[in-house]
C-alpha cells in the first residue's frame, strides 16, 4: 500500500482544472523564487547589474553632448541644440532600460533551458508534472524583477545625473505599452528557449550575436526612424523592417513618443496606439509560437537523444 493510500488520500492522479491551475501557478512562483532569493543571497549582482551598466549608457549620453557642443561651436542656437540634445539623451536613457530587459531575455530566458541542460536540471524539469510554459513564465517573472531594478536605476540616473526631462501625457497608454512590450519580449525569449535547446552550443554564440546587432536594428541608442533617412536607403529601411520583429523597437519607439517633451525625433510609426496594437499581435504570436516550439522541440530533442546530452 502506498504512503498516500495509507494516510487515506486518493492515489489516482488528479487532472481537474482547478488542480492544474494551482499546480502551474505554484510552478511559476517556484521558479521565480530562486531568481529573486538567489540574487539577494549573492548581492554582488547589484554592483555589476545596476551600477556598471550605467557607465556604458553614460558614454552614449556624452557622445550626444559632445555633438551638442560642436553644434553650438558651429553657431547653432544654444536653446534649440539643448532641446535636441535632451530629446536624444532621453532616447539613450529609455534605450538603456530596454537593453537591460533584452539582455535578460537573451541570457536568462533564451539560454536558460540550454543552461539547465548543461548543469543537469533539465531532466528533472521534464519529469515534473507542470507545464513547461509555467516554468518559463516563472523564469520571466523572476528575471523581470531583477532587471526592473537595473532599468529603474537607469531611468533615475538619466533624470538625476544627466538632467533628462520626461513629460508623460498619457500614463495609462504608457503603462500598457511598457507591459505589452515586456510580454512580447519575454514571449520571444520563451520561443528562443526551446530553439536554443535544439541548437545546443550554438545558442551561446547566438545570444552573443543578438546583442549589438539588435541594439542597432532596434534603435536602442538612437531614434529608430533614423534608419529610414534617405541617405541610408535602401538598406536602412531593410534593417528597420527586420528590427521591428524584435518587440523592443516598437515598444521603445512608442515609449519615446509618450515621454519625450515635444515631438519625439524620427519616430518609426508616429502613432503609439498603432504600435501598441502591433505589440499585442507580436505578444500573442510569440507566446503561441513558444508553446508550439516547446512541445515540438522537446519531442525532437528526446527522439534525437539530445535532451540530457551536455556540451553539444
Amino acid at each position: 500500500m502506498s504512503t498516500a493510500a495509507a494516510h487515506g488520500r486518493p492515489t489516482e492522479r488528479r487532472s481537474d482544472l482547478r488542480f492544474r491551475i494551482g499546480l502551474n501557478v505554484r510552478a511559476v512562483f517556484g521558479r521565480a523564487y530562486p531568481r529573486v532569493i538567489g540574487a539577494n543571497r549573492e548581492p554582488s549582482w547589484i554592483f555589476f547589474e545596476v551600477f556598471l551598466p550605467l557607465l556604458g549608457i553614460a558614454a552614449y549620453v556624452f557622445i550626444y553632448q559632445s555633438f551638442g557642443l560642436a553644434a553650438i561651436a558651429q553657431g547653432k542656437d544654444p536653446a534649440t541644440v539643448a532641446a535636441q540634445t535632451n530629446a536624444l539623451v532621453a532616447t539613450v536613457v529609455l534605450g538603456g532600460t530596454m537593453v537591460a530587459f533584452w539582455l535578460n531575455v537573451l541570457w536568462s530566458m533564451a539560454s536558460q533551458l540550454y543552461w539547465e541542460k548543461e548543469i543537469g536540471n533539465l531532466q528533472i524539469y521534464m519529469m515534473a508534472p507542470m507545464s513547461r510554459m509555467s516554468l518559463l513564465a516563472g523564469m520571466a517573472v523572476g528575471g523581470m524583477f531583477m532587471t526592473s531594478v537595473r532599468a529603474l536605476s537607469t531611468l533615475v540616473a538619466g533624470i538625476v545625473v544627466f538632467g533628462v526631462i520626461f513629460q508623460v501625457a498619457n500614463p495609462w497608454l504608457l503603462l500598457a505599452v511598457f507591459f505589452v512590450t515586456l510580454l512580447a519580449l519575454y514571449g520571444m525569449g520563451m520561443m528562443f528557449a526551446s530553439l536554443y535547446l535544439l541548437w545546443g552550443r550554438e545558442a551561446w554564440n547566438l545570444s552573443a550575436l543578438l546583442e549589438e546587432p539588435i541594439f542597432f536594428s532596434s534603435g536602442m541608442y538612437f531614434p529608430a526612424g533614423g534608419l529610414l533617412q534617405p541617405a541610408l536607403a535602401p538598406w536602412g529601411t531593410a534593417v528597420a523592417i527586420a528590427g521591428s520583429i524584435v518587440p523592443a523597437m516598437l515598444g521603445l519607439d512608442a515609449l519615446r513618443q509618450l515621454t519625450i517633451p515635444g515631438p519625439a525625433p524620427f519616430p518609426i510609426i508616429p502613432d503609439p496606439v498603432i504600435e501598441l496594437e502591433l505589440l499585442l499581435v507580436l505578444a500573442v504570436a510569440f507566446l503561441l509560437l513558444a508553446r508550439f516550439a516547446l512541445a515540438y522541440l522537446e519531442k525532437l530533442a528526446k527522439r534525437e537523444g539530445k535532451l540530457t546530452s551536455r556540451h553539444q
Partner: protein, 290 residues
Amino acid sequence: MNTFWKTFKVAAWLGWEMDSNWTEPWLFIVYSIIKPIAATFILVLMYVVFAAIGRFNAGPLFDFMYVGNAFFIFVGSTLFGTFQVIQSDREWYQTIRYIYISPISFYVYVMGRAVSKILVSAFAVVITLLFGMYVLNPAVQITLTWSEIPMLAAGLLLGLFCLLAIGITLGGVTFLMARHTQTLAEAVPGIFYVFCGVLFPLTILPGWLMDVGKAIPLTYWFELSRRVLLSPADQAAIAPLTGLGTFSDLTILGFLIVSGVAFFVLSIGVFKLGEYLARKAGKIDMTTSY
C-alpha cells in the same frame, strides 16, 4: 620558463578551439565581423540622426569616434576573454578542478585562453577600419605611412599587454563571483568607454572625471592610435579638445610601458589574492545555477 610557454601555447590553442569549433569557419568569420560592425553602426546612426536634426557637420569628431570605437573592439573581447575563463571552466564545463590541480601556472593558462580572443578581435578591428575608409560615405579620413607603422605597432603591443593585465586583475575577482561574467564583460568596458575618451574627447567630461581618464593607461593607447591613423586635418581639429595635446608620442609610449609593468604586477597580486580567498571559502569549483 619552458613550462610557462608550453602552457601559454596550449591554452591559446584550446581557447581558439573552444571559440571556433561550434560552427563552420565561414560562419565563425561572419559572427566575428557582424558584432563589431553593428556596434559601429550604432555610432554612425547616432551621428546621422543628430546631423539630420540639427543640420550640422562634425566630420573630425565623427572620425575621432569611429577610430576610437574600432580599437575599443579589443577592449571588449580581451576583457571578456579573461573574465569568462574561470567561470566557463568552473560553471559550464566544470573542469576547473582538473586544470587547477595540474602542474601549470593558472595565471599563464588564463592569459593564453584570452589571446585567441585578441586574434579574432584584431581581424574585426581591421575590417571595421577598412569599412570606414572604403564603404562609409563620407569616408573616415584614415592615413597611415610606412614610417608610422613602428609607432602604431609599439602602441598596439603595449596597449594590449596593459589590457590583458587589467583583464586578469579583474578576472581574479571572478574567482569569488557567481556566474555574472556576461554582465561583468558588458559593464566593465563601460568604465573605459566613458573615461578613456574612446567616443568623445576627454574635455567633454567634468574636471575630476577627466583626471580619472588621464590615470587610465588605455586613454593614452587610444590617443596614440588616433594620432597615427587620423588625417592631419582631423588631428588639427581635434587636438585642442583631447586634453592630451601636451604629451609627445614618445611620452605616451613611456606611460604605456610604465603602466603595463604596474598592471602586470597588480594582476599577479590580485589574481593570487582572489585565488587564495576562493580556496579559503571553498569557492574554487562552485556552481551557481539560479
